[in-house]
Amino acid sequence: MDAKTRIGYFVKNNLVLVTIMILAAVTALIEPKFLTVANLGNLMNQFGPLSFVALGMTLAIIGGFIDLSVAGIVSLSAVFTISMIDVLGQGGALIAGLAAGVAMGLLNAFIVVSCGALTQAKALFITYGLSAVYSAAALLYTDGATQHMSHLASRTDLFKAVGSGRAGFIPASFLLFIIIMALLHVFLTRTQTGREICLTGANITAADLCGIPVKRRITLVFVLSGVLSAFGAIVLFSRITTASPLLGANYETNAILAVVVGGTSLAGGRGSVVRTMLGVMLVILLSNCLNLLGVSTYLQSVCKGAVLIIAIWLDRRRVK
């Protein structure tokens, strides 16, 4: 194999990484400050909320589903958690918020399984419907009013640490993301339950006939997606110190974008949370680069859509 084909292989197998490098190079050329330590810290900070939601979405997609309810989960768990701080104290509120994510994930799974909606398309509509329910519940719960952390009587330093604390130049939320990602990676690749999730996602009939408890695995996938979305919500409102009941809007689109761009297959079964990290990185760099170029937000959405379509097209090609 000569050098040329070797480079060709590398590009083909690491398309995301190559794109990230190109984007980084372009950005660095336009804005020399891009390569400073301070900006690196900023970039890591941008991983923030989306990266957690995207981790949950990765699990859902590997398990054979697309969880569209994450937008609703982010909104509802954010306003719920803030409202609980004065009731339960900040530790209690944090746990209550995560528990709300678990509960919504369980409800998703319960409805998907009990409706027998065990195909991606059917579950897509169910979670879409539930997203509307959760968003509406957030509006009802708050009467449509934005919740402010500054209006609370209790201490909120724990949340502030999660949202914007730093260890040196590394944001706390980024560290948490790396830890959770590493744990999930080991879970998916090295444990029996993780393998069973992949097998269920790739061929649910074959997995069921091999005695794998597919319904329980599906439930687990939705619960993890729910709790990670709730955690993303907590990072988000802690950072901006307010939570509107519409906080989570569009989170599902960006999460799916990051997962698919990372290279997790929409066909289910194959993918990895590490790839999703690269996907998130690409999405962040892309908007960073477009911002620097002065591209309008509307056009940026067009670019994101185009990237998603290209990623799906590449995924299809890989399957064949």
Binding site: R190, T191, R195, L199, N203, A206, L209, G211, P213
Partner: protein, 493 residues
């Protein structure tokens, strides 16, 4: 005979068609006379459907000629065939359930029919012609199977069809509906329309058909007037194969009863009871759709049942899911390898290990070393041809894929191995190896339930055979003592 030669509507000459690995039709010739009801019989896989699909234009023939109504047909499409006057009524109807009866009959031809009013008017006339009073404004989704068939027939008549091919038209009709279908067939015949009647059910062939063609393994065995034949002779021609050394010597390790199934009842199955003995290969013979697969799926826990009582080794067991089935020591090799058996984008080793993940545990984690070892053992034991255990299974041949599935289950050391069509689409050499694996499994003390549409396979491998028809067990035979004809007779019901 003279009349047939002078007045032939369809003439098929030396037609062949091959698919990768199978010769579906080999030098097939037949002639259908005008106004004749012509039956085609044969076992599953005899080539009936392939022939039909060539006639309608779904497949293209590799060789031979087809002459329809004096015109030589080279390439055609389903719509062109219809326009020429050749209609096909498939087993699975091709009606659109969200549209009305009238719209279905004149689908895509509303203008020709004279708008919506003309469509319904003409549809009504056509339906009356065959003695049906279905309202043309009803939605197809509201119709019974028999009514849908009437609509299909009316649709065929609307094209002024000269030949109507009916594929297993009786498969889901009640006795009464069947009688009505008979009337319509006779009426169409007297109107000069030819009918090609494809069926498994010999009773219907004898009742409706003038001439019958018997097919087997892609060949035409014979074409004869029905009155010259009797049932015995016909079945003999359908199944009579001479086979040498295609099968290993029949294993004989049958011991005491291992599993007792009683009163197994589902929507389709009617009070199935039987016993499986230790070390036995028990064959299920029946037509596709008779309920063979339903029985084994119900036993394994893959489908819901209304009632079942199962005892394994004298103890009553409750099997509510596939998981329970596996825990009771049952292994299940499903009929559809790609959809139900394999995880195609995964490696050979993870396909083998997927029913044995517990064995791979080392503390909390799965051990890649143990997985590799398990796969390597099975690869050498079952002679699986693969570049490496890490190769993606989709690239293996059908036979090797099937061996991986069997290996996956042998690793669980099952008491009972259920094999549904284990050799479908597999070449002869790999088939023999799978038979040897079955023999080895019973030698090691397992019992096997074997389902196969290939009669010789079941008869040569089984110690005992149960015939299944219409959701019931209709007979029990010793394949060494009873002829294939007798067994097939019982299976046809």
């Amino acid at each position: 005979m003279d009349r047939q030669l002078s007045d032939v509507i369809l003439s098929v000459e030396h037609v062949s068609k091959a698919f990768p690995g199978v010769k579906a039709l080999d030098d097939v010739s037949l002639q259908v006379g005008r106004g004749v009801v012509h039956g085609i019989v044969g076992e599953n896989g005899a080539g009936k459907s392939t022939l039909m699909k060539i006639l309608s234009g779904v497949y293209t023939k590799d060789a031979g000629t087809v002459v329809f109504d004096g015109q030589t047909i080279e390439k055609t499409t389903p719509m062109e065939s219809l326009r020429r006057g050749l209609s096909i009524i498939y087993q699975e109807f091709s009606l659109i359930s969200s549209m009305t009866v009238g719209e279905n009959i004149f689908l895509g031809r509303f203008r020709e029919a004279g708008g919506m009013r003309g469509t319904h008017q003409k549809a009504k006339e056509l339906l009356e012609q065959i003695g049906s009073s279905i309202h043309t404004g009803s939605y197809v989704s509201e119709l019974s199977t028999s009514e849908k068939q009437m609509v299909e027939i009316a649709k065929a008549l609307s094209f002024q069809s000269k030949l109507i091919i009916m594929d297993e038209p009786s498969s889901s009709l009640t006795e009464e509906e069947l009688a009505k279908l008979g009337d319509i067939i006779r009426q169409m015949r007297s109107g000069g329309i030819s009918i090609l009647y494809i069926s498994h059910k010999l009773d219907e062939i004898f009742e409706y058909c003038d001439v019958v063609t018997i097919m087997r393994d892609g060949h035409v065995i014979d074409t004869r007037p029905v009155r010259e034949l009797d049932r015995r002779e016909m079945v003999g021609m359908m199944v009579g194969r001479t086979i040498e050394n295609e099968y290993p010597e029949r294993p004989h390790f049958v011991g005491e009863p291992l599993m007792k199934v009683e009163h197994l009842t589902t929507n389709k199955l009617k009070d199935i009871s039987f016993t499986l003995n230790r070390g036995e290969i028990l064959g299920f013979v029946g037509l596709v759709g008779a309920g063979r697969t339903e029985i084994v799926r119900a036993i394994y826990g893959a489908d819901k049942v209304k009632r079942k009582e199962i005892q394994i080794e004298g103890e009553a067991v409750k099997i509510m899911s596939s998981r329970d089935g596996k825990k009771c020591g049952i292994a299940f090799v499903p009929e559809d390898r790609k959809q139900q058996g394999l995880v195609l984008p995964f490696s050979v080793e993870s396909n083998i290990s997927m029913a044995n993940l517990k064995k791979l545990k080392k503390g909390m984690f799965l051990s890649p070393d143990k997985e590799r070892k398990m796969a390597e053992e099975k690869i050498s034991e079952l002679l699986i041809k693969t570049p490496s255990p890490a190769s993606v299974i989709v690239n293996l041949s059908g036979g090797n894929q099937q061996k991986c599935i069997i290996g996956r289950w042998l690793e669980t050391e099952p008491k009972i191995l259920i094999m549904d069509e284990p050799t479908r689409g597999i070449d002869v050499g790999a088939k023999y190896e799978i038979y040897m694996l079955m023999k080895k499994a019973v030698e090691a003390g397992s019992s096997i339930i074997l389902i196969s549409s290939e009669l010789p396979e079941v008869l040569n491998m089984s110690n005992r055979v149960l015939t299944i028809a219409d959701g019931r067990i209709t007979g029990e035979f010793d394949p060494e003592k009873v002829s294939a004809q007798e067994i097939m007779n019982r299976a046809i019901g």
